[in-house]
Every structure is written in C-alpha cells, then in structure tokens.
Symmetry: C2
Subunit: 405 residues, 2 copies
C-alpha cells in the first residue's frame, strides 16, 4: 500500500486540486515579498496546532476563533516582517482587520479566513501597507504562484520550503502539499515556524486534527535550532475534499496510506526547516533507540541535537563525543552509562562505559558531509525517536546580534 | 550583624587559617599549570555537591567515597586537561591512584583525600605525568601559592576566580575563601564547574552540607553559559575549625552571619564564572519578581539568561525585548501576558500586554555596559530569584568548534 505514495519534487500548496496561492510585496519588508494568501475553491476542513508560548500572538487568536466557528477555512492570509505579537489591544484589532480585508477581497465569510504573521515582536503593524497589499493578491494554481507564496512567508530563511506527496486512494489521485518557514527560534512545541498544508482529500476536521497532532509530535516538534519557542507559530491544514475519495477515517482501508503520506510531508518540511537553521551549514539527525518510552527517546534526541556544544563541535567537524555525553547526561531519561552506546555515522565511539578505538580520520572525513547522523542506543527499552537540528556557526551569532537592524 | 562581614579582594582558599595550596605544571596541558592541591593542617569537616549528570566522572565517585568514610577531608588534588570521565574501569583505577599518590605525598589517610578533574571527556589519563607532578606540589599559605592553585584548575577560562570573606564570630576572626573554574558547559545543577571553598570556622559536616546545598541553589545552580551539564562538576567545602569559634549550628546566635558570608562567597564565585563564560563580553543578570514560587522564579530567570537569542541580542547591544518574551513564553511558570513587565536597566519595555514607549538611544547606551540587568515582573505572587549568564559571541563558536585541537 505504501508504495502508492510518491514524494513529488517542487510540489507545493497548489499541487492539490482546487488550491491557489499568491505572494506580493506590500512594504512591511524593505524589498522582499511579505504578504501571501492560500485560497481553496470550496471551504476546506481545517485543523491547526499552535505555539505553546504563554505569549500567543494576536493572529493565532483570530485563527482559532475562525476554526472554532465552523471547523472550515477557505482562505489564509499571512504576512512576514512583523509578528503582531505583544502588541496589546491594537494588535488584536489589526489581526481582525487583516481577516476582514482578506475575506472581502475573496468574497467569503470572515470565519472562513485564517490569519498568520511572522517577524519582529512588539511592534505595531503597519496596517496601511497590509490594506494596500491585499488587492494585489491574485491567487493562481501555477508553480510560480505557489513559489510566490512560499517566498512571502520567509524571514531569515535562506530558501523556500515546500513539498508534496501524491497518493492513490479509492482509485483517486490524492495530493498533499506543504509550505513552511522557520529558521531561528525553532524548538519543541510548535516553536517559531509556520507550516501550511493543503490536501484535496476528503476528511473531516476531527480526523484531520488527530492526524496533525500525531504527525507534529514526530516532525515539527522534533526539530530545534536554538531551543527557543516563538509567539506565533502554527501549522494549519486545509482539506477541501476535491479528490472525491470516500471520507477518510481510521476505518477507511487506506487510512494508513494517507496517514503515512501526511507524516512524510510533515517530516520533509520539518527537516527543511532544521537544515535552514540560522547560519547552519549542516543538518544533524539524532536517532535515539532503546529508550524506556517514546517521550524519553524524544527528549533525549532533542537534548543532543539542541546542545550548543554538540552543534559547535559538528560545525568544527570535530568528533568530540564527550559533547554528546554531556547532552545525554542531563536528559531526564533513564540512562545507564554502562549500557549506553554512541555512534557517529558508521563508527561506534563509546560503548558500555568505555571509550572505543575509532578512526579519527574516518570520523573527520564523515563530518565533512552536509548531513550528520548521530545514534544513541540506551539499551533500556524498546522505544525510539529521531530529532533534527543544525550546527551552531559564526553566522548564527551574526544574524541574531543584529536581527532588528 | 551583617556589617561584620567584609569581602576581601584577592582573598583566596589560603586566606582561612591552616590552609595551604599549590599548583604546578605536570604535562597534561601543553605549558599551563595543570595539577593543584589544597591542604589543611588538620582534618576538616567536608561537604560537597556533585553534577546531576547520568555520567558522573571517576574522581567524583572517589571523592564521594572519601567523604562518606569519615565526613572529613584534609587534602584535595585536582588536575585540568583531562576530565577522566567516560573512561571506564581504567579511569576509576586512575582516580584511586591519584588519591593514593596525594595521600602518600602528604602523609595522610587516603580517605582524607578528595580528587577532582576537569578537561576533555573520554580520554584515558596520562598517569605517568600525574605521578611525576605530585612530588612537585609544595603547598604554602602565600598569596602566590593560592594563585598557583587557582591557575592549575582552569581550562578555557580566561582568568582565575577567587574570593574571600572575613567575619567576626564569637569574637574570633573567621575566614571563608574560595576558588573556582568554569567557562563553558555551565548550567543548572552543578554543571561543568569546580568550586573549592575553605573556612577556618568550626562547623560539623552535617551543617556544612546544609549550608552548601542551600547556597548552591541561589548561586552555582543559577548560572548558565550554554545550557550544558558536565560530568565532572562539584563544589567541595572544607572547614578546619582553626578559628576556634563555638561550633556553628542553626542555634548559634551568629549562624545567620556565617550563612550570609557563605552565600556571598558562593554568589561571588558563581558570578565570576558567568562573567567569564566562553567568549563572553558581558555579564547578564536576570531578576524575576512576582513569581508564584521560588522554583518558578528560578526557572524563569534561567530561561531568560540561557536563551541563545537573548544572549546574542545583548552581544549585539540590541534592545530586542521580543527575545525576552520568547524565553519567558516557554517557561513552565505561571505567566499572565497581561500582567508581565519587562525592564532593561531603568527602562520599562513591556507592560500589561502592551509595548511601552522607551528611548532606544538610552537603551543602546545602557547596553554598552559590561553588566546588563534585565528584570521581569510576573505580578503573580511574591517569590523572586536571580540568575546570571553571559552574551553569546563569535568567540563562543570559535572556542567550541575546535575544543580538542
């Protein structure tokens, strides 16, 4: 069954039937595109996950209200350059105004409209620019329009993030497409990233939410750039049913096919974000096996991939596995030093309490790769998890020492 | 009563009566001093706190055994250049051999001897060099000898850390002296630092342990450089009673005087470590007030001071208070965005859900200081706590990308 899934390169949020998108420059950013839209021909089942920050930005509140009203969304408007977070009553009024402007532009109900923002925290929105930008949005289903949208949602990202999967369900072609942004402030629990997933599958919002929540735990929540959590992050999924498959529920014979495809789309976007971490030169993948529970495996994998010392060692192409020990050491997981194994690529560096003889030359050669795989075996149970991150470089410091300037 | 305490500049572990020290070069490091000793004329009441890492280094196990035997320590031997951590059975045998060599050198019982190590993880000790170094140790009570010890325990530190307090108790002069090392891998729970405190006060080890555990929570456990926890860290306190005060217990009329002095010594050392964080140019002090509990205040303060984005913003002298919001946002503390206030130096940047008008010029001027004070008021309770850290700079990346080379 799983063979019926294909990941389509350069696929995007407009790959699924009935979706269009656009991105324009309205002036919140100096010259880059900063206002985007995704539009569905018909109202789509909607599901979303939001930042766990105590300081949830205004647009997230508005989007939650829209979804709560009827579990359907038809249009999403998103800006970069300003997060509209910690902006008080004015910020909330601005997010409502953005929603209204978008709804009017496309002749749909306000409650079918979602809003998202990303950028600097604590500055009031320039609504004049937003309102001037909305009429410029002309969504289309072309590759170029999808690309315009992907571009408009970026901040310090160095490139667009997109993906699409093609599935066969009930003899119909079903697509899942996605776009994301995120580069710094990326950490557990929906942190500082935006993800937008479209699908033409027929599925109700309850089951869509279930899939999204599950997939988030193994994808977006398993990446970290710098241990930070943003005020604005969310992943929004829209399913418009235009593929005309039988509605997907756990009882559908091909539920697992869709679930797999959905998870792969989420993982693909998550890895693209981790790889494009601010200043990053390498993607780091940490696999933890033999943990007592999935929670402990996830936490330990994230500890390692989030460690500043592991990250700088990888940047320095230094097989300094003591840094990995340091990170595992303060994980809350059950760890028996005498059972733990640490692998870098194909070499075992530490096993059963003893340092292993390994080839420093082979390790140095391996560390030149753009993707570095670290495996930690805890030999304490059967659970496993993977987390993704990136190295810590001079450019991370450079980008963030002068973020506002 | 508190007026009877004086912090004595350039005081050290040899300031209290009956303590001597030394530091020599034995060859574990290329040219720097790498082997040190503290010796008391008489066995001293001992107390210690240790790293919370699952991977506790061999010397810590040996020191714990020594203290457990009779609650007294007379000599401490410590090396830099090699952590003797994750070194298996050989490492443990080496730590025992270090203890024996030190005990024999000074003609004392092995169980009166403590051992500490700091440096690279996972490499076996060069015991030949250590054993050649031990006879070179000639402890004295001079300022120079104290300085030699302070130097021998350093790794990437840029300078020695020392302090001393002079108290009057029972009409006697009572001293507390301290030395510490630590620069990277500094985080909660006794992480990657060594602290050695001497005092000539008369106090038993039970009360000494109580004081140390309490003081650690408000000093060494409240500093962070990079969120990492080491395998080797410990703080060891020796009290030899030679000041001839009446034994200190909570019932002693001047217990609070000693307790205060002790806490100030711990805080002073902790701040010196934070200020000398790898690559640091500034000390950051974060005060959290109005928290529901001391635990929540401590956690929140550490979240802010440990945030890579706060740290890089301070390095960039950028009053980007959204970074502080980001850090508080994912604290597990009770936070009401509409009650939270954020202060930078003397200016309020955010209050009751709204960004405040503040002078960017004044903020930029303030951020040029070497010590940056951030205050977060949660208005949720009465508890408060302070944490210390440093900025994140290009040099942090440089130091750690090539730590082993």
């Amino acid at each position: 069954m799983e063979a019926s899934m294909t990941i389509v390169k350069h696929g995007s949020v407009v790959s699924p039937k009935g979706f269009s998108a656009d991105g324009v420059h309205c002036g919140l950013r100096y010259s880059k595109k900063d206002l985007g839209v995704i539009l569905s021909e018909v109202p789509a089942s909607a599901a979303a996950v939001y930042t766990q920050s105590h300081f949830q930005a205004a647009p997230l509140k508005v989007t939650q209200e829209s979804i709560a009203a009827g579990k359907k969304i038809q249009a999403l408007i998103v800006n970069s350059g300003n997060a509209n977070a910690c902006t008080g009553k004015q910020g909330l009024a601005d997010a409502y105004q953005m929603r209204r402007a978008c709804a009017e532009r496309f002749g749909i109900n306000e409650y079918l409209t979602a809003v998202a923002s990303t950028g600097v925290i604590g500055e009031q929105m320039n609504m004049k620019k937003i309102l001037e930008g909305v009429p410029l949005l002309n969504p289309a289903s072309t590759k170029e329009s999808g690309h315009s949208f992907e571009t408009a949602i970026l901040t310090t990202d160095t490139g667009v993030k997109n993906t699409a999967a093609k599935l066969a369900i009930d003899g119909k072609e079903v697509w899942i497409g996605g776009a994301a942004k995120g580069s710094g402030m990326i950490h557990p629990n929906m942190a500082t990233m935006l993800g937008f997933i479209t699908t033409d599958a027929a599925i109700d919002s309850v089951h869509l939410q279930q899939l999204l929540s599950e997939a988030t735990d193994t994808s977006f929540n398993q990446i970290t750039v710098d241990g930070e959590t943003s005020t604005n992050d969310m992943v929004l999924v829209l399913a418009n049913g235009m593929a005309e498959n039988d509605p997907l529920t756990p009882n559908h014979p091909q539920w697992e096919v869709f679930k797999n495809g959905f998870q792969e789309v989420c993982k693909d976007l998550a890895k693209q974000i981790a790889k494009d971490g601010e200043g990053a030169t390498k993607l780091i993948e940490v696999q933890v096996t033999g943990a007592v529970s999935v929670q402990e495996a996830r936490e330990t994998a994230k500890k390692v991939v989030g460690s500043s010392l592991v990250k700088t060692a990888v940047f320095g192409e230094d097989a300094n596995w003591g840094r990995i020990i340091g990170a595992i050491g303060h994980s809350r997981a059950s760890v028996d030093p005498d059972q733990t194994e640490i692998w870098l690529g194909g070499q075992c560096l530490f096993s059963k309490g003893e340092p292993q003889d390994f080839s420093e030359e082979k390790a140095a050669e391996y560390l030149k790769d753009k993707t570095i795989m670290i495996r930690v075996s805890l030999a304490a149970g059967d659970a496993e998890a993977t987390a993704w991150g990136c190295d810590l470089t001079y450019d991370y410091v450079k980008i963030n020492a002068s973020y506002r300037t």
